[in-house]
């Protein structure tokens, strides 16, 4: 998916861009490097926490509606657990990068956490609004409630929550307007400044998982879920493409701009979504 983003970005800039398989080669190369030095125990555990956050979301996310196998470990309160896992990886990463001891990591962490906290506010409001609307915290039940035609989707039954969440999704994917934290040409690369070889490989693997699964989460919550694999791929790609499209059109925000941006319109829409269903 990140290759799609890079490829589209390159075509917009008038370049051919990377081959679509480049991210996979990068990951193989990172795992195949011979040296890797460590700065301590948390430096090891940081990427592991991050990847367990990503895999954790994957395990508890129902992928295909009404399928016995691909509902994974979805249970009654999985929505809360998934919201928690999203933050869990960030915190683990912050601890690990902090032990790297590089000043750029520390600045990157403070930027990343402050931005992610403000992203979470409208997203959480939207999720609470949906929970009140459908009177459940189970993603499977939310998907079940949206069956029966396009007008039953949350997109149409609860538009304010959808818009608030889709705006905060832009930040969660970390593409252009909100990519200050990890952009290579900001203070070099932010939190993972000291991460290299297989540590960075683990982080890259997690990024690949996380992008897909966040798109699937939003598909489940707002766009009626998927009845089969084809529907899943098409819908999640379009959700991902939304952030790619915005990323290519708009330039990067500074950190105080992005924090303020999330606390204005998305927050207001989230509050309205809650008030409507109170």
């Amino acid at each position: 998916m990140s290759a799609t983003m890079r490829k589209i970005g390159a075509r917009v800039a008038g370049r051919y861009g990377i081959p679509f398989y480049q991210p996979w080669i990068n990951i193989i190369k990172l795992y195949s490097l011979r040296d890797s030095i460590t700065h301590g125990v948390m430096f090891y555990l940081g990427p592991i926490f991050r990847v367990s956050g990503g895999v954790g979301i994957f395990l508890f996310m129902p992928l295909i509606f009404a399928s016995q196998h691909f509902s994974n470990f979805s249970f009654a309160g999985d929505l809360v657990l998934i919201m928690y896992f999203q933050f869990f990886g960030m915190l683990g990463m912050a601890l690990g990068a902090g032990e790297g001891g590089h000043p750029h990591s520390a600045i990157g962490i403070s930027r990343g956490l402050s931005q992610f906290t403000t992203i979470e506010v409208p997203m959480t409001l939207a999720v609470i609004s949906i929970a009140i609307q459908y009177n459940t915290l189970s993603i499977s039940e939310i998907v079940a409630a949206q069956q029966g035609g396009i007008l039953h989707w949350t997109l149409f039954t609860n538009p304010f929550a959808t818009v608030a969440a889709m705006l905060s999704l832009l930040g969660a994917f970390g593409h252009s307007p909100f990519n200050l934290v990890k952009a290579p040409n900001e203070i070099p690369i932010g939190p993972p400044t000291e991460y290299h070889s297989s540590f960075l490989g683990v982080l890259r693997t997690n990024a690949a998982i996380l992008h897909v699964i966040e798109a699937v989460l939003f598909m489940n919550l707002f766009f009626g879920g998927a009845g089969n694999w084809f529907e899943l791929i098409v819908k999640s790609f379009f959700i991902y493409f939304w952030s790619v499209f915005v990323g290519i059109v708009f330039p990067r925000f500074r950190i105080e701009q992005s924090v303020q941006w999330f606390l204005k319109i998305p927050l207001l829409l989230g509050v309205i979504a809650i008030i409507i269903f109170m």
Binding site: A10, K29, L33, R34, N185, I189, P192, T193, E194, Y195
Partner: protein, 224 residues
């Protein structure tokens, strides 16, 4: 290492000098930053995998994903931005710029190398994670080029760090640099990109050469 440091003690920064510190419980602790804060082990030779098929596959992945350290040392660094923009678009070949030495594998020495820069180059090169490759750009790195009798630049780069590919010219155009990348890829795929091991093997020789040039040596012998 301690012997070496004695000769260079007068160049040490204030925070790297040996000093006594009072601990919170009142005891006096002697701090020697160069020995306490830095790991001073010599680099080790990391042998390639014995299974030829696996090593070949890994070398292919290393060759197809070259991450270049964004460190312009001389006038040649002006050739690197056009390399990345639409006209030459090196992203097609798996070349990407990385901002930190930890994450990069290729070091482009772009042109003449002043003695002051050489110190930073050595430091950055040693912090890169192997296998790592050096691509030397321009005649200045081969024999000094138009700076061959300058008082402040080095003449032969491969006396100081192992070089994989030279790109001759003054200055080489981005096409030449791309050709250099292709040559480097061939070299890595053939299993000859072992610069990091060569550096570890002839560590003493490289260090002696570096210290001959850099008079104000005030860092550890090997920067992990």
């Amino acid at each position: 290492m301690t012997n070496e440091n004695k000769n260079h003690e007068k160049f040490l920064h204030e925070e790297n000098k040996i000093r006594e510190v009072k601990a919170p419980d009142g005891s006096i602790i002697k701090v020697d930053p160069l020995n306490d804060y830095f790991l001073d082990d010599r680099p080790e030779i990391k042998k390639p995998k014995t299974n030829k098929i696996v090593e070949k596959f890994l070398n292919w992945s290393r060759a197809e994903s070259l991450w270049v350290l964004g460190f312009g040392t001389g006038c040649g660094s002006i050739e690197i931005p056009p390399l990345m923009t639409p006209r030459f678009d090196a992203f097609r070949f798996g070349v990407a710029m990385r901002p930190t030495p930890r994450q990069s594998n290729v070091f482009i020495i772009s042109g003449y190398l002043a003695v002051k820069t050489l110190k930073r180059v050595i430091r950055s090169y040693e912090q890169m994670q192997g296998p790592k490759y050096v691509l030397a750009l321009g005649s200045c790195t081969i024999n000094g080029g138009m700076y061959w009798d300058s008082y402040n630049t080095i003449n032969r780069l491969d006396h100081f760090i192992p070089v994989d590919v030279y790109v001759a010219g003054c200055m080489p155009r981005p096409e030449a640099l791309l050709a250099g990348f292709m040559k480097l890829k061939e070299r890595i795929k053939a299993g000859r990109g072992e610069g990091a091991n060569e550096y570890a093997e002839k560590f003493d020789w490289y260090k002696a050469n570096q210290k001959k040039i850099i008079n104000d040596w005030n860092m550890p012998d090997y920067n992990w």
